[in-house]
């Protein structure tokens, strides 16, 4: 168990600058998730921690050892790969024992550890099989088992659930979380799936184009995204964005977009003051939109036309058009609306997000 420190970490391939000035302090026992769209440098970052990629610039420390020049085998880490990477010519038992054998553990100890891990993962009956005789979910467990027998300081996961079908993925996600609670080993987990990131991570690191965009606890990322990218990436369906102009006097600012006009709530007024007369991006999460009722204040409603209705059972997603703007609202399953119906929607004034148009930073 150890903390991991990434300091001004950079990785350049010939033409690609894959990881840019990454600074991250991963605490002891923490489960941290790197998330971002494909190609944003998550795997490269993880592989540098593992020692599989050379570090172009910067420093990585595991525990209190700088590991820049250590080969992977001396870093005391274990990694689970997306394609499981089970050794096809070895039995499950030998796969799990390989790392311990390489480290010259006594036979009895190896046996005990493999048995323990197999029990935790429910794969005792598979120990004599070869990887090709296993299902995808079973291979996944073996890969995890192979990682945990070594009791490493840090676990590294690179999209370990991406090759599983949807149902199994949810199940394994829960198991991984339970496993982490039990083992309390520092873990770095890479995924492109924001749901996985939110559910698994103690903290989540959002990356884009090699840069860290924001680091925070899942709810913090959701409620206080630091820029437009994070706001749009976290949450499903994604946040609605509308271009608006800030108008009015200091005491009563309004956000005026084509087909939408909303009062600016007092909580945002002071930050938005300087933007008077300029354009900003307004962000509204789908669940912060609802069908207007008597209690909603006049300034926070607007009219729209239903474009698509997506009933999900527990809720309905309404795709609506307000002028040229498309928005998604998450409404009660009891709402009865058809395509082309007019609808008056109200926003939740405490939960509006505003972003600078050029820097895309949250205001």
């Amino acid at each position: 168990m150890a903390q991991v420190l990434l300091k001004d970490l950079n990785k350049k391939y010939d033409e690609v600058h894959a990881v840019k000035d990454v600074n991250l302090h991963i605490r002891d026992k923490e489960f941290i998730v790197l998330v971002g769209p494909s190609g944003c440098g998550k795997s490269t970052t993880l592989r540098m921690v593992a020692g599989l990629e050379e570090i172009t610039a910067g420093e990585i420390a595991i525990g209190d050892r700088v590991v820049n020049d250590l080969p992977p085998k001396d870093r005391d880490i274990a990694m689970v790969f997306q394609n499981y990477a089970l050794y096809p010519h070895m039995t499950v038992y030998d796969n799990m024992a390989f790392g311990l054998k390489m480290r010259k553990f006594p036979k009895a100890e190896i046996q005990k550890r493999v048995q323990d891990a197999a029990e935790i993962l429910g794969i005792q009956d598979l120990l004599k099989r070869k990887p090709r005789q296993l299902s995808g979910g079973q291979r996944q467990r073996v890969a995890v088992g192979r990682a945990i027998v070594r009791h490493p300081q840090v676990f590294l996961f690179d999209e370990p659930l991406s090759n599983l079908d949807a149902k199994l993925r949810v199940q394994m996600r829960v198991e991984l979380k339970r496993l982490h609670d039990r083992l309390e080993t520092t873990a770095i987990y890479v995924t492109h799936d924001q749901v996985e990131a939110m559910t698994l991570g103690d903290r989540v690191v959002v990356m884009k184009d090699g840069w860290i965009q924001q680091v925070g606890e899942p709810l913090e990322l959701y409620t206080k995204p630091s820029n437009r990218f994070v706001a749009g990436f976290i949450g499903s369906p994604a946040m609605n964005f509308v271009d608006v102009g800030i108008q009015g006097s200091d005491s009563s600012l309004t956000a005026q977009g084509t087909g939408i006009r909303l009062a600016i709530p007092p909580v945002n007024a002071s930050q938005l003051g300087p933007y008077k007369g300029q354009r900003v991006t307004l962000g509204i999460r789908p669940e912060d939109l609802h069908i207007a009722a008597g209690g909603d204040q006049a300034g926070y409603v607007f009219d729209a036309v239903v474009d698509v209705v997506e009933p999900l059972g527990s809720e309905i997603l309404l795709d609506v058009k307000a002028g040229p703007n498309s928005l998604v609202a998450r409404v009660e399953p009891t709402v009865r609306l058809k395509v082309h119906d007019g609808v008056r929607l109200a926003v939740n004034p405490d939960r509006l997000h505003f972003f600078d148009m050029t820097s895309e930073k949250a205001i």
């Binding site: 020692g51 599989l52 990694m79 096809p88 390989f98 790392g99 192979r146």
Partner: protein
């Protein structure tokens, strides 16, 4: 659903296959019946009664006996075997390491090196034997097995390297990375993980290399001169054709015996060999 008519299967599959098999096996059949045909039957006029060119009426082993008693055929067999095994061993060893390096390691000019190794394979032996002959003479290796053991790798190593490089590239690199994290060095991961997985590829490279050196003709013809030092392909041709007289029976007996080891090797490893050429494991 497509309903397949039986006659189509015959026309497009069985009949062409049968013709192909007959075409392929006929030379072997011819070799066999000639090898066991007594001279009287061999050199009989086409118009003679009882002439049966496709069948041997009184099979005999005399040609085989002559082969072993009157020529140095056992030496040839041993020479061929010895040279083929050692040069295959050398080539496999170099090919394994070079193929691995080209498939996995990043170093400057890796691509150019790979291509140039391949290009050397394309240089025809009929051109290459002239400078090689010079080298062999300088090292005073002429008329020794080492002349061949050291020249065969000039075409076997590029061949093995390319075949194995292709095979290594089909093995997911995560397997090796995982082994390195698990506690193996790069070399350890190569030996413990990659080589065992690459066994089909290694075997097919070995079989090919063995066959190529077993059948090699030009270098063997040029570099070896004493009769007892020769290899089977050269010995059979040079010692059983004297002037314009062909000793067909012995010639065919020698060819038959010379092709048996290769046929055995192939049939023994055919399965590995097929997977070796068509792809490998999934992680």
């Amino acid at each position: 659903m497509v309903i397949e008519r039986p006659w189509k299967r015959w026309v497009y599959f069985y009949i062409p296959l049968t013709l192909f098999v007959i075409g392929t096996l006929f030379p072997f059949y011819w070799m066999l019946i000639t090898a066991i045909r007594p001279d009287a039957e061999l050199y009989r006029s086409w118009r003679a009664v009882n002439n049966a060119p496709f069948w041997t009426l009184h099979p005999t082993l005399e040609h085989f006996r002559d082969l072993f008693e009157k020529t140095t055929f056992p030496h040839w067999l041993w020479n061929t075997f010895f040279i083929a095994v050692i040069s295959t061993g050398i080539s496999l060893f170099c090919g394994l390491l070079a193929g691995y390096a080209l498939a996995r390691l990043k170093f400057p000019m890796a691509g150019a090196l790979g291509t140039s190794i391949f290009v050397t394979y394309l240089v025809p032996p009929t051109l290459l034997f002239i400078p090689l002959a010079d080298i062999i003479r300088n090292f005073q290796l002429g008329n020794t097995p080492w002349a061949l053991i050291l020249t065969y790798p000039t075409f076997l190593i590029p061949f093995c390297t390319w075949l194995l490089m292709g095979y290594f590239k089909t093995i997911p690199k995560e397997l090796e990375e995982c082994a390195r994290i698990d506690g193996a060095t790069r070399f350890g991961a190569m030996v413990r993980i990659i080589f065992p997985i690459a066994v089909p590829g290694i075997l097919s490279a070995g079989i090919f290399a063995f066959t190529l050196s077993w059948n090699e003709f030009i270098y063997a013809l040029v570099f070896l001169s004493s009769p007892e030092r020769k290899t089977v392909p050269v010995g059979v041709v040079s010692e059983m054709i004297r002037g314009d007289i062909y000793f067909w029976g012995q010639l065919m007996a020698g060819a038959l015996l010379g092709s048996i080891p290769v046929a055995l090797v192939y049939s023994f490893f055919v399965e590995y060999y097929v997977t070796g050429l068509t792809g490998s494991v999934k992680g």
